[in-house]
Symmetry: C2
Subunit: 126 residues, 2 copies
């Protein structure tokens, strides 16, 4: 994360104050860093997995509850979970038989911030 530029990294109030993808051109380094995260979201199974994990009351969910939600094999679900984890969107921990997953909200916060229009533009557009 040390490569991120402060103006992109800033979470609190990013929508109000800071340049985003919509207000200043991304440089090559920023684009190379962000593209794999969006790519990880570019699959309907991974989007649903992320959503199941993120919306879980209590903040984490057992893989044993994720797999039955899909008509997919356990290895296929695990592969999708691995891609989400490599993208920094989720993290996990093994406890006994099962692996438990949880959201890394700093990454979804970052994506939301760079896609958010500055307040003035959002107020006047559409």
């Amino acid at each position: 994360m040390s490569k991120q530029k402060p103006e992109v990294l800033g979470r609190a109030g990013a929508a109000e104050c800071c340049p985003t993808l919509l207000t200043a051109p991304l440089d090559e380094e920023q684009a190379a860093e962000l593209a794999p995260v969006f790519k990880a979201l570019g699959d309907p199974v991974r989007l649903r997995l992320l959503s199941l994990i993120a919306s879980r009351q209590g903040g984490e969910i057992c893989v044993c509850e994720l797999t039955p939600a899909f008509d997919l094999s356990q290895p296929t679900v695990s592969h999708h979970l691995k891609l989400l984890r490599q993208a920094g969107l989720i993290d996990c921990e093994r406890r006994g038989t099962w692996v438990y997953y949880w959201l890394r909200p700093e990454m979804t916060d970052r994506l939301a911030a760079i896609l958010t229009r500055p307040a003035t533009a959002a107020d006047t557009a559409s």
Copy 2:
């Protein structure tokens, strides 16, 4: 857009009031609709193109200004622009010799909204 569910579609104040990817599990239809948009963003050239278009003062940019920003052929840049357009992220119009591109902010607004934590969760987390 008629397939979108109201609670996901809602733009104004979505961060404050409405279910997002982070608060309620996406159904298959929503995931199938959103995944191609994220996939379109899952490439560094397309991210930079979108950012160049979106951050343009005046709201639109000629393809003749986009191509020189990349070490890529005109057809390659045009192909990436086509994928962004098919995803609903940008639109374009030909005027004389050149094609002009602009952001469709309703789509980036929608992505930002579904990635935004509800205010209460964001306030208490990390």
